[in-house]
Structures are given as structure tokens and as C-alpha cells.
Symmetry: C2
DNA sequence: CCAATCGCTTTACAAAGTAAAGTGCCGGGA
DNA sequence: TCCCGGCACTTTACTTTGTAAAGCGATTGG
């Protein structure tokens, strides 16, 4: 009994699954949802509006996954690894959403809702890192640099993995355990 | 006196500069190059073909910049920083090309030319890292993990920078010196 | 009971992707 | 010299897509 905008966003997932990320069409999304071909435009204004709403929901999901990772354990070190794994899982399980995360030019970047959702995800990472540093880890390092370094690493690793370059060196391995292992090495190197 | 395909790829740059990455149109590229609206399709087959050729040229350029960074100094540590800086400069100076680097779904990923160009860029990084490790740096670390970690970090850092998230924490600073500083910290942490 | 509003659809049109046929030019053989 | 085949594009034509605008039936407040 979900409402129509939600059904339309679900239809985006279905369309990406069937036709790929660049096969997403405002018209197709409408008809996929069982509505007219202008339904998506009616609700979201235009194509960037549709993508913005879709991306906002995607950030909300990954942000929630990161928050869950932080809340599930008292050990910040474990939480960092879990949050990274959540990000990786998100990229693999919802490749549609993840691919759109990288297509900001198709969205209205200045939408407040989108900002809020992005900041939610980023704030979850910050919180975990601050807790980890409070345990004495990397105590003498600049916190802003620490945050940037770990973000950049995790995001870059996942992206290079799904877009191909890391497939060859880690042939046959799986993303999540590999990321956990390499990230753990990085964390201990930074200590 | 450049040939027509080259002029068309230059026209892609001009179109992106004028209309943004999503304003690139096969027809517009043709007319921008002073040709008919089907000229680009004629030479590159279709839109993915055009993007593939454009992306191949972009990878060739960034690969050459990385090779130059490696060749310009005997100090591998310096070469690593220079290569990272070259990547950052590329992202800033050719935002058009960099934005397409992230839009692989618009390209024909399986094109051999594109593979070759990508591998050229990656191989340049590998070579520098191997030289650096030969100096004793991080000698006991798995070379594949080292490569993945530094790639992921540099790529992720630049991407988060240009797409927004790092703008707030590093407000008012510039990408290249910031990346050099944070990357140098990472290198010494990994040592 | 009725009209305004809601939630969508229908209609309409311009821009863009792309297939296919056309056109002028240039070089090489009879 | 003439012709003819191919090269380098252009012209034409058709379909899909984005999007504006008007329409239309069902609810709902007065």
C-alpha cells in the first residue's frame, strides 16, 4: 500500500535492473509503475527531479546502514569495518542506486533533501571515527584528515572494484572480505 | 590540420564546457565541429561509441601525465606525490573528461582501445609504487594491497573533492596541495 | 448539491538518436 | 579523356524521449 511516488521510485529500480542505468526513461518509469508515461514527470517535475528523489532515497538507505553498523557494537574498530562493509554491500546489492550516486550531474545537487540525506551518511562515518579516535587510535592525527583518508579509501576501493580496475588483481575474491582485510591494515597503519 | 575524428572529440570538450556533461549531444557535437549533425554518429557509430573514443583519449592523457610524473624524478616518493597531483590536476583542468571517467555506463566498456588506455594509466601507477617499495618502503606489505590502497585513496579523494563532500571540511583550501599533504601522511603511515 | 481540488491522463510538440539513402569529389584504369 | 568506384561526409526520415499544457473523473469541503 505504498504511495505513488514511492512506487515510482521502486519502478526506477526495476527499470535499471531491466534496461541498465542509462535505460532509465521518465516515460518508462511511469509505465513500469503501471501508470501513464507522464506520471513520473508529474510527481517529480522532470528527469533531474526524479533522479534527485531516487538518489536521496539511496543516500538515506546507505546512511541507515552505516548508522546501524555504528549502533550494533561498542567496539569502534569493529564499527568502522562494519560501516565499510555496509557501504560495499550497498554497492553490490543495489548497483542501480550506487551507480546513480556517481551521476550527480543528472541531479539537482542543491536540493536540501538530498543534502540532508548525504550528510546523514557522512555524519554516521564521522561519529564512528570520532569514537575510534577517542580510544586513543591515531590520537595525534588531524581528525579532518583522518576522516577524509578513510572516506576516500573506502569509497575509492568500492568504486574501483565495481568499475573494474580491482577485478584483475583480486581475481576470484569477494569485495566485502577483501575490503575488510585491506581496510583493517590501513586502520592499523594509521594508528 | 587535425583530422575529422580528432576535431569531433575536441568538439565534445567544447560542448561540455558550454552545456555541461549531460548537454552532450551527438548532433551538437557535429555542428560544434562545423559539420553536419550526423557527422559524429558517422565516425563513431553511435553515442556510446563517441563517449568511448572520448574516454579513451582522456585515459591516454591522464596516463601520459602519470608517466611523466614517474619519469621526471629519481625519487619514487616524489614521483608518487607527483602522480597523485597529476591526477588531481587532470580532474580540475579537464572536468569534462574526468566526469566522463565516472560514466562508464555510457561507454562500451569492452572496447580494446579503452582497455589499453586504462591499463596504461594504471600501469604507470604500479611502476612508481614498485620502485618506491624497492627503496624499502612498506617492504613487508603485500604489493597488491599497497597498490589498491593508494589507488583507492587518490581516486576517492579526488572524486569526493570534486563532487562536494570534501569541500566543507577543507573549505577554502586547494585540492592539489591538500592531496599532497594528506597523501604524504598516508605514505609515511604505510611505511 | 455543487464546485474546487486532487491525482492522474491525454494530447501535443520540439529535441535527440540513428538508419538509410544521397551527393560531390578524387584517384585510377581503359 | 572519360568513366567509375569509393571516400567523406550530408540529407532525409523516422522513432524515442523530455516536457508543457490542457483535460477529466473521483473526492471533499461548504
Amino acid at each position: 500500500m505504498s504511495d505513488t511516488p514511492t512506487r515510482l521510485l521502486d519502478a526506477v529500480d526495476a527499470v535499471i535492473a531491466e534496461h541498465g542505468p542509462s535505460g532509465v526513461t521518465v516515460r518508462r518509469v511511469g509505465t513500469q509503475a503501471g501508470l501513464s508515461h507522464t506520471a513520473a514527470a508529474h510527481y517529480f517535475g522532470d528527469k533531474p527531479g526524479l533522479f534527485t528523489a531516487y538518489l536521496t532515497r539511496a543516500y538515506d538507505r546507505v546512511g541507515a546502514a552505516i548508522e546501524d553498523a555504528g549502533a550494533a557494537t561498542d567496539d569502534p574498530h569493529q564499527a568502522m569495518l562494519d560501516a565499510a562493509a555496509a557501504y560495499a554491500r550497498f554497492a553490490l546489492q543495489e548497483p542501480s542506486a550506487f551507480s546513480v550516486l556517481q551521476r550527480l550531474e543528472l541531479t539537482r545537487v542543491d536540493t536540501p533533501e538530498l543534502w540532508r540525506a548525504r550528510e546523514r551518511a557522512y555524519f554516521g562515518i564521522d561519529a564512528i571515527l570520532l569514537r575510534q579516535q577517542a580510544t586513543g587510535w591515531a590520537a595525534d592525527r588531524n581528525i579532518a584528515d583522518l576522516i577524509a583518508t578513510t572516506w576516500a579509501f573506502v569509497h575509492g576501493f568500492v568504486e574501483l572494484w565495481v568499475s573494474g580496475p580491482l577485478a584483475a588483481p583480486y581475481d576470484g575474491q569477494e569485495l566485502e572480505p577483501t575490503l575488510r582485510r585491506v581496510f583493517a591494515d590501513l586502520i592499523s597503519a594509521l594508528a
